[in-house]
Symmetry: C2
Subunit: 338 residues, 2 copies
């Protein structure tokens, strides 16, 4: 029984698989048309795949990176110098991915103390995989208490199975646990321009697991809430500040405003960063205009125009009804700073 | 000097041109890549072009239709029976276009009383064109009083020159008049999924007239307002109820919510329908899932999923700071019912 087979009864979606010789990455840029795994034979190939967004989502990126280090350790027969060099290459792929940095440093600390680097790095990577699955299940368990049978839940972007080890991330895990408890959930999914992670990834996941799901444009959130079509909102968070301010995919704040107006609970789950006091301290990534301008290989706007593409926004804690973590459900006032 | 040449000093963008023998329609489905006029030789061709959205925007559709009737009258040498049949075909192209219905009935009334149908239908169509240009200029004049030199204005979808006779519709007209008065305006434009009329049409117009313009995704409205990047909002309206409720392209309501939160004036200009008491009476067009699902010829979501695409939403009058018409600027409480 291989390591990954141990999780078979959990029906993981497996965006990242380690075979002992290769890292297999489900190519998320090809979804939903094509389900194809990239076979990566060394750490350099893994780094390139992360950089070009073949894999995305905090947990999935982190797992791809640590298995990349496992390949580095195996291929170099435990050469610590090569491992450290590869660690730097991995860190440079997505400079804002907090979980990736922490995991790489964790692996390096283990390698430095190890007498069998190749073996111990693999074990540590597997341990992180297992911990991620456990986190997903706990978040699902805790979050499921907030939902009722028959709820229609709006979500934004993708914070599901493809963004983690594959059980369901911080959103799909909740829906799966609801179902286990006999609560039927219907999900409204925003398409999430410009990368359409909602339309391309979240809907694909929900269909895989047989959920009732509806695609809407980002613009239609207000209409759907006005018409009473949405009971609750559940979104992921790239980072949650100590005071409960939420950094997530741009558009989250508009959804939160509309939810507040229509008295719809707005739930968030994601990584809490207790060192960050408020959302003001979170730097928002302004990404390339090309990501907005080029769609399916074609330009959608006139030439020589200015484009402003903030990829995230901050939802102030006043709009957040509850924060779901592996440790429980937290309600205001939020104080994660200790 | 032909009829359309008389407007040369206004620098019209001319989405609809009548040559006396043909209707020339700027193909709005090909913008911004290609500026191509369709040459339509009879009323059936015009009806087909309206139905397939080669021309869109209330005023432009209306003008295309009345010039289609002019072709019908000329080609049939004033045959009233043929004219009425063609009028029915035109009415069936876009069953919710109020201005199109009113204009066709106006033309038919004139034709019924006329001794020279072919000539009088042409004259009536030209009169409607002239009236539309005058309306655009008056809206521009009135609206420009609400803006200051240096304002950054957010707009949504396209309610500019391409949606009317070509002076500037109800949004670009305001910006043009501001400039005439020495007020420099910068415009933020939402891309406006799914048809991207903001990215494809509004930006193209603004560039044509040399305005400073920035494209953002629909999702980025909240972020831009949070950061103090937007001073005012100006949007068109497909229909305004007697109490000031506004029906406009879906997403307008979310923008209004965010504007209210950030104390940003939210201005609207469009057709007032005094017979409609409140927004509750306005039927929202639910359009085809294909319009969301197919983008540049490619599918963006998995197969067999449910899509819900309301094309418009209602912004309650409480969110509307002022309504701009050709007759002036109206402030709350609104009472257009008489």
């Amino acid at each position: 029984l291989s390591f990954h087979d141990r999780f078979d009864d959990l029906k993981l979606l497996k965006p990242v698989i380690f075979t002992g010789k290769e890292v297999l990455l489900l190519d998320q840029t090809k979804l939903p048309e094509t389900e194809k795994y990239l076979k990566l034979k060394n750490c350099g190939e893994v780094a390139k795949a992360i950089k070009t967004m073949k894999v995305r989502g905090g947990g999935a990126i982190m797992l791809a990176a640590v298995y990349g280090l496992a390949l580095s350790a195996i291929n170099s027969r435990g050469n610590l110098k090569i491992l450290k060099k590869d660690a730097e290459i991995l860190k440079n792929t997505r400079p804002t991915a907090a979980a990736l940095f922490q995991a790489i440093d964790f692996i390096l600390r283990i390698a430095e103390k190890s007498s069998n680097v190749a073996e111990d790095v693999q074990q540590a990577a597997n341990w992180l995989f297992k911990k991620t699955v456990e986190m997903e299940i706990k978040v699902g368990e805790n979050g499921s208490k907030l939902f009722e049978d028959g709820d229609t839940v709006l979500t934004h972007c993708n914070a599901g199975a493809l963004a983690a080890a594959g059980y369901g991330g911080v959103t799909l895990s909740v829906f799966r646990k609801c179902r286990e408890k006999g609560k039927k959930i219907k999900v409204f999914v925003t398409e999430t321009r410009p990368y359409l992670q909602g339309a391309r990834l979240t809907l694909w996941e929900l269909k895989k697991f047989g959920f009732d799901a509806v695609l809407i444009t980002d613009n239609a959130v207000g209409y759907c809430m006005q018409k009473g079509m949405i009971d609750k909102v559940l979104v992921g968070a790239d980072r949650i500040a100590a005071n409960g301010d939420v950094a997530n995919k741009v558009g989250t704040y508009l959804i939160a405003l509309a939810a507040k107006k229509h008295k719809i609970p707005f739930y968030v789950s994601g990584t809490i960063d207790p060192k960050i006091k408020t959302g003001d301290e979170i730097k928002i990534e302004i990404r390339s205009p090309e990501e907005v301008l080029i769609f399916n290989g074609k330009r959608i706007a006139p030439k020589n125009i200015e484009v402003f593409y903030p990829a995230f926004d901050i939802t102030p804690h006043q709009y957040v009804t509850a924060i779901i973590t592996k440790d429980g459900v937290f309600k205001p006032p939020y104080n994660f700073g200790g």
